[in-house]
Subunit: 109 residues, 2 copies
């Protein structure tokens, strides 16, 4: 998947910063990852997502409010994927929930 800079509305809104280190091999990760990305985009309050992985993977998803984030966390299919993440796909991860207070951008295209 090729990610672009997310076009988010003016702050305030919320960011979920998910930083991770993968375990060895794909083990169904890529397929589930694309599926979850497509599903996240359909959730109420979803504003955008950015992702990149070298050794460390960083995925930042943007949401309208904490309720949207909670609902997505509790979504049945996502809950199963998160469980498999702990059991199979990730060695280590950290999730941070943050309120975006201001932003600015630069575009030279």
């Amino acid at each position: 998947m090729k990610f672009m800079i997310a076009k988010t509305p003016p702050p305030p809104y919320y960011a979920v910063i998910f930083t991770s280190v993968r375990s060895e091999g794909d083990q169904g990760y890529s397929e589930m990852s694309e599926k979850m990305m497509a599903l996240a985009k359909k959730q109420p309050g979803f504003l955008g997502v950015e992702s990149s992985r070298e050794y460390l993977g960083i995925t930042v998803s943007y949401w309208k409010d904490p309720d949207s984030i909670r609902r997505w966390k509790e979504h049945a299919e996502h809950t199963l994927a998160r469980q498999k993440g702990r059991e199979v796909w990730y060695r280590q991860f950290k999730t941070r929930i943050a309120k975006v207070e201001r932003d600015y951008e630069f575009d030279n295209y």
Copy 2:
């Protein structure tokens, strides 16, 4: 540079989410990037940094409070680097300042 998941203190603290698309060629970017990373780590209030680039680059730095972020933004050498970023290294970027309200982690190492 190989980045690990940042060991940040318990929230609240602040995150600067810097998402970018580079222009063509290195043009001194790698050297300046390492220099700025080393300099940032020495600033008061710096808590950690995570970075990854595929097409999209995502760098998240963590700070004690908005004052630490402002001081780093106004740091003389960093101001020169930011200016060259706009002129030479980046096609596009977006910076978001966010207050981390909660976090959780998983470690299976």
